[in-house]
Symmetry: C3
Subunit: 411 residues, 3 copies
Amino acid sequence: MRLKFPILALMLEVVTIVLYALLVVYDTGDAHGDGSHEESNTTHSSSPMTLYPMFQDVHVMIFIGFGFLMTFLKRYGFSSVGINLLLAAFGLQWGLLLQNIWHMHNGKITINIEKMINADFSTATVLISFGAVLGKTSPVQLLIMTLLEITTFCINEHLVVGVLGVSDVGASMTIHAFGAYFGLAVARVLYRPGLRNGHENEGSVYHSDLFAMIGTVYLWMFWPSFNSAIAEPGDPQLRAVINTYFSLAACALAAYATSSLVEKKGKLDMVHIQNATLAGGVAVGTCADMDIQPFGAMVIGITAGVISTVGFKFLTPILASKLGIQDTCGVHNLHGMPGILGGLAGIVAAALGKKDNVTATYQACGLASSLGFALVGGLITGLIMKIPFWGQPPDQNCFDDSIFWEVQHEK
Amino acid sequence: MRLKFPILALMLEVVTIVLYALLVVYDTGDAHGDGSHEESNTTHSSSPMTLYPMFQDVHVMIFIGFGFLMTFLKRYGFSSVGINLLLAAFGLQWGLLLQNIWHMHNGKITINIEKMINADFSTATVLISFGAVLGKTSPVQLLIMTLLEITTFCINEHLVVGVLGVSDVGASMTIHAFGAYFGLAVARVLYRPGLRNGHENEGSVYHSDLFAMIGTVYLWMFWPSFNSAIAEPGDPQLRAVINTYFSLAACALAAYATSSLVEKKGKLDMVHIQNATLAGGVAVGTCADMDIQPFGAMVIGITAGVISTVGFKFLTPILASKLGIQDTCGVHNLHGMPGILGGLAGIVAAALGKKDNVTATYQACGLASSLGFALVGGLITGLIMKIPFWGQPPDQNCFDDSIFWEVQHEK
Amino acid sequence: MRLKFPILALMLEVVTIVLYALLVVYDTGDAHGDGSHEESNTTHSSSPMTLYPMFQDVHVMIFIGFGFLMTFLKRYGFSSVGINLLLAAFGLQWGLLLQNIWHMHNGKITINIEKMINADFSTATVLISFGAVLGKTSPVQLLIMTLLEITTFCINEHLVVGVLGVSDVGASMTIHAFGAYFGLAVARVLYRPGLRNGHENEGSVYHSDLFAMIGTVYLWMFWPSFNSAIAEPGDPQLRAVINTYFSLAACALAAYATSSLVEKKGKLDMVHIQNATLAGGVAVGTCADMDIQPFGAMVIGITAGVISTVGFKFLTPILASKLGIQDTCGVHNLHGMPGILGGLAGIVAAALGKKDNVTATYQACGLASSLGFALVGGLITGLIMKIPFWGQPPDQNCFDDSIFWEVQHEK
């Protein structure tokens, strides 16, 4: 850490500031009259602050939700919430730049609340991948991952949503599946045989599980904002809220029931509750704004809750032992499989709802592209992160804040 | 737990989904032109998302507020926040159905943000009652209580608000007093003589009290949203916010002062601060949107703060020892007495404000009906919950997560 | 504590209620047509609830943000979050009165959401000063400080913003610098030679640092609301949000980098992360709504992050040892120096942006006035607080909840 971390962090920030000085301005004044009003229905307010409450909900999901969700580890809470803040703070600056270089006005990127929401979204990919490699990487490695992952994400997102016109309002494919498989590819490259039999710090204590529940509950509550924030105002946005609300409610019941079914003596497992209750939000993302009806959303939610819990119980150990993928937070179960389920649900909804196989085919291309970019991008990024120069912690110091933080000894 | 819990949870969810498939649709398109616009003043926005920020505030109160408030017990945090999530996730689905079967359009229930707020509200009754029986009931029992209590609540609410036209914008009577006395009736039926002399786990530790303060502070902050969310837009909604804000502020001072007065050496008691600071929000609920003026709200708040603190100190022990009502969280002090105070304040405000004894009489009927449904409903529900089939924990396992959860041993 | 605290608290509340009964009414009906509409642009909604989501963000900063930020001390969490609630609950009632006695209508103060936001703001000054004397003062002393500091704040704010017309939308000068130097002056007067060599309870434990991060992250997320809540609707408000968002993001990178640079072995220090990441929000406050462009905000943020971290590392120990200022939370580094930086940035922005030395001079006067009122007001308040009648804790009981709270012994 001695010098590499501060130098890298400051260098990234200075380069970003220079690029902002050249390229980024406020979206004020006549920028509001850029034609987007014509598309919106009469219920749309033209205030530049209309989306601000949704932005803050998403902001809370990024910084409190993701940050505290990862504090479940007994000795890694500082890094979970602290490095989460660092990566997201850099990522949102970088993401806003790259998401908007495709459509500048007079050589300038104009910032408004919607673009801030999208910038926050772009950081979610990194925070999901962070979950896969949590406890086994240095801040330097993670800043590099942030830079490369957000760049890859912006290319894929532009291709899928911008060029192909694929629907993915809640980003099941472009954020959740992408972030999960990117992170899993990185984790595969960084495989640690020495942790094959676990690590004494890779577990929770009572209060660390309660801190993690702060993250869980915030993600659960505000997921309707995540899935509806950039939906078309009016009915589509309302549908996105309602579908996500009910998908999550049904998913919660399914996660509790399945956890009790698969555990000894019918007990509940905190890992399942912290994560699988959220899978319904991921899985309903792609078709959140579509006319799937509340019961359709609930079917997606219950399916996601079951799949996710079963994944934690049975698939995660297999990925670790057979495929060499050590997925600390089980992002495959929360974001990977539910993200694919969301993509598939979008294909089905497009095929049924619009009676339109072309649209369905485009949706399928969107899913394939997201997975492809994630896996290839993740492998390359993993190889770069593996260069022994970046201060990766040795096996015995994994899952331990004290390698990167001043930690007070209790009492 | 082995099979009963997952079977019951999945069965409830599947039945709910079938009913939603038959009955529930989005409130989109022409549903907005249903005449409600004429009533609203010119400041009312017609966007379907107008109430969304208030909905999210209420959502936070339900899932973070109630959930973390109950984490004060040293060994029952997983259940407090986890079972809170489970019950509310099921309850909101069930509540939305039952609250709206009285007024369907073309055989359909149409969902919008206001109905989601009301659905969240309906779960609050259960979460209040949960506080009375916290630590002494199984998840199966609690799911049954959720089903029966929300059903009873919806009947009483329809009678009081829908048929009698009683004012109860912040639901002092229909939610708080109802939920408290329902839960106390259940607690009476489930009386445990074996816990007469307390239980070693029925207490807090330092950090569990801090987790509980997260719940307290969120409830305290967002209570203005609870009391104003379904108020008429414009001045009544503004009054509801202002009255609740000042009632809570005055109540906080009163709770601190009274706690110090009744404790040894003038110290403060965390139980009082966690709960009695909130009594002002409960007590101002019924007349929150009325023209009681800020100082009137403050008088209600200060009264509630004193009554609630005194209740914790002197009444709760008597209820347990003389009446056989073991009220774990003291919901009688936070929701019961302040809820009745709120109902009485509403009667007085109606009698004074409108110079109208008929309205005041209807308000009194609303309070009586809420208490009656709560006590009778709670007694019947308690008897059903007492059937020895539902896995109620034995005395020695009360207030202990490890009977229902996989719990890691520290270190 | 025995009687002084409850008597003082109740007396303050009763006096406040009497004043409210005489002076305070709702801002309803024609009060909305008071001419403020003409100034606002067409994007401004005239609903009385427009600012409500921003109010709630500010509310969360005051009660969760400030409250939990101070829970970092291992044995002082009850007081941090609990006394924070007490002081803010009283302060907002008192602040609303004093902020508005300068402009009453027909002898009445009319309350709306904007005035509630300003009332919350006024409490921030006290909570900042509370940080300087945290652990070394009694609730009675702190209530007195609240009364006197808010009174002083309201006079200075009226002079600076009302009379001189100084720009300070995010209150770098009138709240942050004022609150910090007021608190430091009080701390100087209350200097304790007996704590010269530290105190065993003046430090954190692992979980207390995580609780504090809840406060940090909420402050970090919602700071754009703090700086924009009372900005002119439309473009200025949007600029205030965007500038604060980017200032904080750049500041976070700078704080992490600088913390690693100044600590042994390049480790991160939780104290820096909890506080210095927020300095960008303070420093961009005065010119948040000005046209400084996003990169300008980032330059302010990065500067504030470096200054604040360096202050914690090198300046705080010197203040304690050389000047007798024991600043428990380091408010000089989070609010003091960044507040002055914000005031200076405002002067520069006024001089450059408006090519107007008169405006710049007024800005400078606003900074000087805020510092002057803070230092003089703080010294006088400190002398009053030093009167031995108010139950100030002896040295050995500092930083320990158990002197004012019933504290359960672990296990």
